[in-house]
């Protein structure tokens, strides 16, 4: 079963502060989404609203056509693992927390939970509050995956995890997603490491949705052009320039969404054409609006 998430003109305010605004998006079910944005861009606010932890200040959020907030029919289908893996009462043991999750989650797979706890090497009798940050994150991942919720969200699930654990997390996530397709949303700062997992990507900037598209389409958009400054300036005139650098007579410009004619013109002019990493596109696209380029 896959559920579509629909967000319409969402606004979230904290007193006078605006957390999210003018946010509309439709997320068809059965895909892995990456949620990217700088610190304070609104990722955690968005996840909290999608999970029904927070009421929208304005606008609507529906899952499978039904409002999420205070709707237990939907919230049982939605699992949000918050930053640093806090699930339930941190003074409970790992095993007791799993037992609570079993009672709350209709899709809970206890056998799979045990497998994951062993895979991540977590001590079942230890209190959750006594786990290290990396262990708590791994515990959060175990709970999130074993919930088998049609909508599963991880907010910075990788915090404190070492490289082998992060790799085990990615492997398990993909394996389980392939076996049981569902909607998975991962907010992360590890753009480069996590982006191969994503089918689509949502990028937030200052509380607004800046990008919502297939990640491979985003990858294809960026282009860097390097050569004599005057030649480069001539070719990129009128394009969206994300970044430019000059070293002596040589200039390098990063552009986004350039049509094929530009590529041909650049080739004809003898410019060096290079691709742009998703991480660089992300950094350039999310420049604060007040910053000078």
């Amino acid at each position: 079963m896959t559920l579509t998430i629909t967000v319409n003109d969402l606004q979230v305010r904290y007193g006078e502060t605006v957390g999210l605004q003018d946010l509309s998006a439709e997320l068809p079910g059965g895909k892995i989404y990456g949620l990217l944005g700088r610190n304070g861009s609104g990722k955690t606010s968005l996840l909290a609203v999608l999970a029904g932890f927070r009421k929208p200040s304005a606008g609507t959020v529906t899952v499978d056509g039904l409002p999420v907030f205070e709707n237990s029919r939907i919230t049982r289908q939605v699992c949000l693992i918050r930053e640093s893996g806090i699930v339930g009462d941190p003074t409970d043991s790992v095993r007791d927390t799993l037992d609570v999750a079993r009672r709350l989650r209709p899709g809970w797979d206890a056998g799979y939970a045990t497998t994951l706890i062993e895979l991540f090497g977590l001590p079942p009798r230890k209190r959750v509050s006594e786990l290290s940050l990396g262990q708590r994150s791994a515990f959060g991942v175990a709970v999130g995956l074993a919930s088998r919720a049609p909508v599963t969200m991880f907010d910075e699930a990788h915090l404190g995890m070492d490289a082998p654990t992060r790799q085990a997390f990615q492997d398990e996530l993909l394996r389980d997603f392939i076996a049981r397709p569902r909607t998975i949303i991962i907010s992360t700062h590890l753009v480069e490491e996590h982006s191969p997992l994503f089918e689509r990507v949502l990028i937030l900037r200052e509380g607004r949705l800046l990008v919502h598209e297939d990640l491979d389409d985003l990858r294809a958009q960026g282009m860097s052009l390097t050569g004599p400054a005057a030649t480069v300036d001539g070719v990129v005139a009128g394009l969206t320039i994300l970044n430019q650098q000059q070293l002596g007579p040589t200039k390098s410009v990063t552009v986004s969404g350039a049509p094929d004619e530009v590529r041909r013109a650049a080739e004809a002019a003898g410019l060096e054409i290079g691709p742009v990493a998703v991480q660089d596109l992300f950094i350039h696209l999310t420049q604060p609006t007040g910053a000078t380029r």
Partner: protein, 127 residues
């Protein structure tokens, strides 16, 4: 496998290129079944939709064909088609940059021709 793909280009195109190279080199034969999108995704740690997009592109180009409920197979004419495509690009993609480099560093074209015509040993180095 972690980070096999270049983060700067669409991954589906890189997968398609990889499969094309395998067909060209004869690693994958005509009518041979290729890995499923899910096997591919798990092996390379990528989203299965990305792998599916690559396979779809190859089907659209006539290089792979689908057998419903069984999987994807290499088209009988795939290797020939790819060879013809690569031959067309050989002079622009391979020879032209080499000539440009030779001109930059002052190697006469005659030297290049001589070098190519020399007999080579097993390692491909000119003797």
């Amino acid at each position: 496998m972690w980070g096999v793909f270049d983060e700067r280009r669409p991954i589906y195109r890189q997968i398609a290129e990889q499969i094309k190279n395998d067909v060209l080199r004869g690693v994958l034969h005509a009518d041979e079944q290729i890995m499923s999108t899910n096997q591919y995704a798990a092996f390379y740690r990528i989203n299965p939709a990305t792998a599916a997009k690559a396979f779809q592109q190859l089907v659209d180009e006539g290089l792979l064909y689908k057998r419903r409920g069984v999987g994807m197979f290499v088209s009988p004419g795939a290797q020939q088609t790819l060879r013809a495509e690569r031959r067309k690009r050989f002079f622009t993609d391979v020879v032209r940059p080499m000539v440009a480099e030779a001109q930059t560093i002052g190697i006469p074209l005659a030297d290049i021709v001589d070098h190519i015509q020399q007999p080579t040993d097993a390692t491909g180095e000119a003797r």
